[in-house]
């Protein structure tokens, strides 16, 4: 059963000239996607979601200079301190994305957060290393937030209670880069006491204060745990990415989004070469996909050391060592968890899966 619907409202020119010389604004195809959060009627109420619809482009240009922490755009017209902010987790609210780079195509899709902007120097300070990106085209967007996806006052209708134990939960994963796994748990609080719990609003479990502006990075997947038996549908408008995507995969667990609002397969994810492959799931890196029952289907790329005794080589679902799973579908709008053993960070790139 297909749970996601994509509607393209319009297809506009990918690049439209602006008034400013050498400054362009990318206008991607726009539309919306419906994401279904599964209830507990037929499963455990877990749903992995991505937010593949992009917020609007706030600025676009070409990088004319770079250091290990800054880029310069000599034609920049931004105001001082524009596109600057941090959420309560310290994540920048705005980011640049490389949309084209004739010098190095492998950088296209790279996303780096913005820490500061300087109008006089035409410079952006970033929280990653952009050196060598001279000549690359980029766009600036503001990241989605808990509020922009689920509604500032929970307009999507997730179950809301006085605490995380009585509410639907939104899980954000953190990875310390050394395999350390952590979770941020968010919920919409309805204060039954008239103020003791801090009033109504989005909260992070264990942390006081409003969490509505918590950033959801474009590469970041989410998991929602629903405690009611009914489904909830979220409609997210936006534009569609028309360049390749790039996601950093760290050692350990990575909860990542799929950046395009179309169904993918394990094969078309293009991640095989980044993962350790062994004779079974325990000796391989793994891809976790939450199915309609709210349970994990665990995939790995099997390398059969016996020449066939273990079921041969290829994508396998754990428990089905002899069944080719390369065409198993990762539905549009779903997230996946990737477990990677290697300490070395890997860049996972997906080419645009449509024309």
């Amino acid at each position: 059963m297909k749970k996601t619907t994509l509607v393209l409202l319009a297809s506009l020119p990918l690049v439209a000239p602006l008034l400013e010389a050498q400054t362009t604004v990318h206008t991607n195809p726009v539309g919306f996607i419906n994401l279904t959060i599964k209830g507990t009627d037929a499963g455990k109420g877990l749903t992995g979601i991505s937010v593949p619809m992009l917020p609007q482009v706030l600025y676009s240009g070409v990088i004319t200079g770079s250091t290990t922490s800054t880029i310069t755009d000599n034609n920049a017209t931004w105001a001082d301190d524009a596109y600057v902010g941090l959420d309560s987790n310290g994540t920048p609210t705005h980011y640049i994305e490389i949309t084209a780079n004739a010098n190095d195509a492998t950088t296209v899709g790279s996303i780096i957060g913005i820490l500061d902007s300087d109008d006089a120097a035409n410079e952006l300070t970033l929280n990653g290393d952009p050196s060598g990106l001279d000549g690359a085209s980029y766009v600036i967007r503001e990241s989605h937030t808990i509020a922009s996806v689920f509604g500032e006052t929970n307009s999507v209708g997730l179950e809301s209670g006085q605490d995380s134990g009585s509410s639907d939960l939104i899980y954000k994963m953190t990875n310390d880069g050394n395999g350390g796994l952590g979770w941020g748990i968010y919920y919409y609080q309805t204060d039954p006491t008239g103020g003791l719990f801090g009033g109504d609003g989005w909260r992070k479990s264990g942390v006081s204060g409003d969490a509505k502006d918590t950033v959801i990075l474009p590469t970041e997947g989410l998991i929602v745990r629903r405690i009611k038996n009914t489904d909830v549908t979220i409609t997210i408008p936006g534009s569609i990415k028309t360049n390749s995507s790039r996601t950093q995969i760290l050692k350990g667990y990575n909860l990542v989004s799929l950046n395009y609002p179309v169904d993918m397969t394990l094969s078309s994810l293009g991640i095989k070469d980044l993962l350790r492959s062994g004779q079974d799931s325990a000796s391989s890196d793994r891809v976790y996909l939450i199915n309609d029952s709210g349970l994990f289907d665990i995939y790995y790329y099997q390398t059969d050391p016996t020449g066939g005794l273990f079921g041969g080589n290829g994508w396998r679902k754990s428990g089905f060592a002899t069944t080719n799973a390369e065409n198993d579908v990762v539905p549009a709008g779903h997230s996946v968890i990737i477990y990677r053993e290697d300490q070395q960070q890997a860049d996972w790139s997906i080419d645009v899966p449509f024309n």
Binding site: G206, S208, L309, G311, S318
Partner: protein, 256 residues
Amino acid sequence: MKARAILPMFALFLSGISLYSQNIALGYGSTFANGEYSVFDDANGDPLDPTNNALLVAGYFDAGYDVTAGVSALKSDFTVANFSSFVSNFNELYSDDFGTDVGNASANIAPGFFFVDVSSLAVPAAAVGETPYIMALKGVTDFANAGLATEVGLFTDSSFATGVDPGQIPAGELIPTNYSLKKEVYSSVLLGSALEDVTLGAEYGGILQGQTGNIYATQAVPEPSTYAMMLGALSFGFVYYKRRIAGKKTDQKQEA
């Protein structure tokens, strides 16, 4: 052909052991439900809060330890040494010092009203299937020093041992399973005392004042000085008794 079938199954069995990180999302402490607030007090009736050096612990006893017998033995001979021995059987899942780090992992939003939420907690294998308890300690802010506490309360609920919501301590999953030990009423007070369905006074702050509450209080761990006084008194009494006996014997001798 048999080997082809068995080997993948064996591989699956092996892989099933280590495919997940085991986590729970733990919550414990005060809550508001059914029109009642649960709060924690010390032995004097003062609410426990960031100002009075106390700790709220969620934990479990060693497997096989007879908690009822242990509590009974402790109560019958409540010494610091016996208390220290008693708490050595208790293992913390998590502890927090009544919100001195408010805004981080816990919330003390009114005096005595304190809860802890932990988003992701790895569950020790020894904890799985054990009955959880809430332990309030006064006089310490680190569970490593639990044996030095001046007051203790130990609470649990029948649902923690037998129920499914929340039930015994779960193994956890990759996506942390919600495990809330917050109760407006704890059905069992092993150490300390409970005062239920009372109107909360001004000491609980303007928000809780006048609300219906269930107060779970610690009890004093007798201090060594108290025992020294008691021992002193006993020694004095023993000497007095011996002298009286000796005196009586002397009198008896003289009478003889």
